[in-house]
């Protein structure tokens, strides 16, 4: 056999081996295609700008700023100079190790956030060096930017979606931002928009080289809608200033629409604290502050006995039930007396008071007697109480307002069942619940309910569910829950006399110190007893009397008389909103500078003393 045939054999043999091998890896095996794509394709989320939030006059409250997350894909990370890298990112080595472990625990192949929300300035300074650390890449993020150090409780804040949230919302991914409180939470769907996805190609050094398949698979981000909220930021800010140094809340509503003009809780916090890399630390600090409770929105969540302002509601119910007429008069003998029961009164009168004066002077005797009359108008206390309870609830009390704020409380309006449980069906009568006549006892309301109640009175018999949303993308609110009035069970004709009484409270009654020439204000002071310490200073008001533009409820915790803090603050708020400027500088200064720190410290000391006592007795 000729020797050249061995050569031919080699040539053909090797060619066959090569072609077979090529067929195997190129045609039969498909995993290489995937590997090649994994090599070059990087999926980047393109976050749309979250919708902006404006106040009712179009002033920007919440905007956007860009920041960068440094992401990591653990599988691609190669050995690196940890010290240099940590220095670049401004983190400690311990954090580096723990973050790396966390990322690996999540996934080796999927990106995890390594360093969150790096400021644009910081990112630019390290951008050029970042690509030399394989496996790390930046992802642009939109962060909130707050124009005012104000209304933090209203706008709320956003944060990374929790694992629990992710489980319920498949359209969110780990690391996505979501509204946690306030408008951000209520209108998450509107504000969020939809993140777009870009498939980018990167080279071996992880440098972006262009779009994958010319962006065929990319999706465009769908930007979130802008929101105009009902807040008047100047009024809001003014309310916050007035409440400085006091605990409590101010809720102002436009009666003709139910739009919330101001929702002040005090103390609050600077919304900027919820942005950026210090966010977790700041949030922790606010969260653990169990004394000041800055994250607690008192306007929506705190429940107080309404006190004297509630007398107005009782007056209206009496008029509706026919147990009271504008001319019904009672003489106060330093309080309400029934057997051994005694409810003190400080109205300081000793002549027969008609309804109007009973309101303006806030006579306890008058309304205890009136309440007794309402209940006893029915065959038994049970029926009377239920009738009363229904009337009260028609003012939006004792139930959720069902508004567009993410939190709220029902408050409490007792009905007959409540007393049946406590005393047995026949074991009680009107006087057993006599405190309800003056807004004390079991009654509990939240400030926003109180403000809404005031709006219902200002409107002479109806209210719109209070809401924070005014317009979305320029379109006014259409939800019938907010656009259709809800009527009270009291006929409009009964309101005028009561409103006259509230007007007198400013003109010559309990709130005369807060009277303002030029604006016809109607109000009702309150001094709510509470078990924690000094009485709460409460005030509800609306103005102007005949064309109400604003209804307001104010609670200053432990502020004592309603006329001491709450009434002046309400009066200033009304002046600010209607006139746009303040003329009573002395009063304003007294309110702005006044604090109740001493009172709060006293309470705190009492708590400590009690704890010490308990500890010593153990």
């Amino acid at each position: 056999m000729e020797r050249k045939y061995l050569f031919y054999f080699f040539f053909i043999g090797l060619a066959l081996i090569f072609i077979a091998r090529l067929f195997y890896i190129q045609v039969i095996r498909t995993d290489f295609r995937l590997s090649a794509e994994n090599n070059v394709i990087r999926k980047e989320m393109v976050y749309p700008g979250r919708g902006l939030i404006f106040d009712r006059h179009g002033k920007l409250l919440v905007g956007n700023q860009s920041a960068y997350d440094i992401m990591v894909i653990p599988l691609q990370v190669e050995s690196l100079d940890t010290l240099e890298f940590c220095g670049l990112l401004g983190i400690t080595k311990e954090l580096f190790i723990s973050k790396m472990a966390e990322a690996k625990a999540y996934s080796y192949r999927k990106p995890s956030v390594f360093v969150k929300q790096m400021s644009k300035e910081h990112y630019i300074s390290l951008q050029e060096k970042l690509y030399s650390f394989k496996g790390f890449f930046p992802q642009k993020r939109i962060l909130r930017d707050y124009a005012y150090n104000s209304a933090a409780n209203v706008t709320g804040f956003i944060g990374e979606a929790s694992d629990r949230f992710l489980a319920d919302h498949p359209s969110y991914k780990k690391g996505d931002l979501v509204g946690i409180t306030g408008i951000e939470k209520s209108y998450e769907e509107v504000l969020r928009g939809r993140a777009g996805i870009q498939y980018k190609m990167v080279d071996v050094h992880n440098r972006v080289k262009g779009r994958f398949e010319d962006g065929k698979y990319d999706t465009l981000p769908d930007p979130g809608a802008d929101i105009i909220c009902s807040i008047d930021i100047d009024l809001q800010k003014y309310g916050e200033q007035l409440m400085n140094g006091k605990r409590g809340s101010v809720v102002a509503i436009e009666p003709s629409s139910g739009e919330i003009l101001a929702l002040v809780t005090s103390p609050s916090y600077n919304p900027e604290l919820m942005v950026g890399r210090e966010r977790t630390k700041n949030y922790g600090r606010l969260f653990v502050d169990s004394i000041e409770k800055p994250l607690y929105d008192r306007g929506l969540l705190a429940e107080y006995p309404p006190g004297s302002p509630f007398k107005v509601v009782n007056a209206l119910i009496g008029l509706q039930e026919g147990t009271l007429t504008p001319n019904t008069s009672y003489t106060c003998h330093h309080g309400f007396h029934y057997g051994r029961l005694h409810v003190a009164c400080h109205c300081g009168t000793s002549y027969p008071l008609p309804l109007r004066t009973g309101i303006s002077k806030s006579c306890n005797n008058y309304f205890c007697t009136a309440f007794k009359g309402i209940i006893e108008n029915y065959p038994d206390a049970h029926q009377g109480m239920n009738a009363w309870s229904e009337h009260v609830k028609s003012f939006g009390l004792g139930k959720f307002l069902n508004n567009d704020l993410p939190t709220g409380r029902k408050g409490f309006v007792p009905d007959a069942d409540y007393y049946d449980r406590a005393f047995g069906y026949t074991g009680w009568k009107a006087v057993s619940a006599i405190s309800l006549g003056i807004g004390q006892g079991e009654l509990l309301v939240t400030p926003i309910q109180l403000a809404n109640m005031t709006a219902a009175i200002a409107n002479r018999g109806y209210y719109y569910t209070p809401h924070i949303l005014k317009k979305v993308n320029g379109q006014p609110v259409t939800d019938p829950n907010y656009t259709e009035p809800k009527h009270t069970t009291v006929d409009p004709k009964h309101f005028d006399i009561v409103i006259e009484g509230m007007f007198d409270a400013f003109e010559k009654g309990t709130a005369r110190g807060s009277r303002l020439e030029g604006i016809e204000m109607c109000g009702k002071t309150g001094t709510a007893e509470n078990p924690h310490g000094q009485d709460h200073s409460i005030f509800v008001a609306f103005a102007p009397k005949d064309d109400p533009k604003i209804a307001i409820a104010i609670i200053v915790e432990n502020g004592y008389w309603g006329s001491r803090w709450a009434a002046p603050i309400a009066s200033l708020m009304i002046e600010k909103y209607i006139n746009g400027e303040i003329t009573r500088e002395t009063l304003e200064k007294r309110m702005l500078d006044g604090t109740l720190k001493e009172e709060y410290q006293k309470q705190l000391d009492a708590v400590y003393d009690k704890k010490k006592l308990i500890a010593e007795n153990k």
Binding site: R3, L6, F7, F10, L14, N39, V204
Partner: protein
């Protein structure tokens, strides 16, 4: 009957066509491998495809020079060329420039020459010259020894540069020796030793002994009637065991750690994603992702984004695999095989032993490059840094292979002149 016609009379146009086809395909793939949008002029001398175009152009000049030269010159000057080549290799130890860890280059300004690429054709000439000398026979131990010296002298100089890949190429001459009369047993034994060597590193010696003993047992059973055969089988078995033992001993006791690591990586026993393991992995991803028809010219992502190291040189076949797919890769493989067949056919028609032996040398050298290079890119062989002839980027290698092939074409065109 000397022809007074054209210089290009009697030229084997098939070889010329295959040469240009491969060189141009190579250039297209080099262009793809280094392609980026910023530099797209094919004449851009700052880019490899621009330079390669220059190398191809100068190769044409080399071809013309060869064609104008007298064919007998190569036979006459075979030894002088060989000696100059050896000297140029030795000179590297003094004047050589280190590139990528190997002192294998002479630098002339911005461009450098790799003498080991030229040593191939010089060695082929010298081998052909020696073996065609009257009275020299592959059956004589002395002649075998001299031939071996001629072939392994350049290899011995190249190994310590270090450039073991280029040195390995010289083992291709065993095929030439076989054609010229060396017993096929040597080829067989050579293969057996290589396989045994790799196995002894891969498998623990005990299992290998058992395996060999089992095979020996089968053969002893088959040849149980022939005492002589049994003795030979036992002797061979003992030799194998001794060989395995010595490989094992050398590997574990003589070699240093760094050598051991390198060999382990070659054998796939150690994993080094930054080193050679990475090359093969990325190379297979590139070729494997090409699919049946490839991703299209300039569309290969592995290629464009530099995932395969050395892609324009040793790993140029990745570009073919990724962008032209199975179809394109097979075409390239077939083109090479056609070239080898043609060289053998042309070699066999030579009247002069010199031309024939030279032809076989050309075929063997090219075949060896082709086999090792492509096997390495598709994960059939460890990574050995040798170029794919005519395809890979590089002036020295293209010039070297051009000289190698066209001297043969010239010799062939002159075959009628030899009586």
């Amino acid at each position: 009957m000397r022809s007074n016609g054209s210089l290009f009379q009697n030229i084997d146009w098939i070889l010329v066509f295959l040469y240009f086809a491969l060189a141009l395909l190579g250039w297209l793939n080099i262009y793809a491998a280094v392609y980026n949008e910023e530099f797209s002029s094919i004449f851009d001398m700052s880019q490899k495809y621009g330079k390669q175009l220059l190398w191809i152009g100068t190769s044409v000049v080399i071809i013309l020079v060869i064609m104008f030269a007298d064919a007998t010159l190569f036979q006459t000057l075979a030894f002088p060329i060989y000696i100059i080549s050896i000297l140029s290799l030795l000179g590297l130890f003094v004047f050589g420039k280190e590139i990528a860890g190997a002192q294998s280059w002479y630098a002339f300004g911005s461009f450098s020459l790799q003498p080991s690429e030229f040593a191939k054709f010089a060695t082929a000439l010298a081998t052909a010259k020696y073996l065609s000398t009257k009275g020299v026979s592959m059956n004589s131990w002395k002649d075998r020894f001299v031939a071996l010296i001629i072939v392994f002298l350049p290899a011995a100089i190249i190994i310590p540069q270090p450039d073991p890949g280029s040195a390995l190429v010289y083992s291709a001459f065993f095929l030439v020796f076989y054609r010229e009369g060396l017993s096929g047993n040597y080829i067989f034994a050579g293969f057996a030793l290589v396989i045994l060597f790799i196995l002894s590193l891969l498998i623990s010696p005990l299992y290998l002994f058992l395996f060999i003993a089992a095979i020996a047992g089968i053969f002893i059973f088959l040849y149980r009637r022939s005492r002589g055969a049994i003795v030979r089988i036992i002797a061979l078995t003992l030799l194998s065991v001794g060989f395995i033992q010595s490989v094992d001993y050398t590997f574990n006791n003589v070699l240093e750690d760094r050598h051991r690591n390198r060999i382990n990586i070659l054998l796939g026993k150690a994993h080094d994603p930054k080193g050679i393991g990475y090359n093969t992995a990325q190379s297979m991803i590139a070729i494997g992702s090409g699919g049946l028809t490839g991703k299209g010219y300039l569309e290969g992502t592995q290629t464009k984004f530099d995932f395969v190291p050395e892609q324009s040189t040793d790993f140029i076949f990745c570009t073919v695999g990724e962008e032209w797919g199975f179809v394109g890769s097979s075409v390239v493989v077939i083109l090479f095989v056609l070239l080898f067949f043609r060289i053998i056919i042309v070699a066999e028609r030579q009247k002069s032993a010199f031309s024939r032996i030279y032809g076989y040398s050309v075929a063997s050298i090219l075949f060896f490059h082709f086999a090792v290079n492509i096997a390495m890119t598709i994960g059939l062989a460890p990574v050995v840094g040798i170029p794919l002839p005519f395809f890979s980027y590089g002036g020295s290698s293209l010039w070297g292979f051009t000289l190698l092939l066209f001297i043969f074409i010239k010799l062939d065109s002159n075959r009628m002149e030899i009586l």
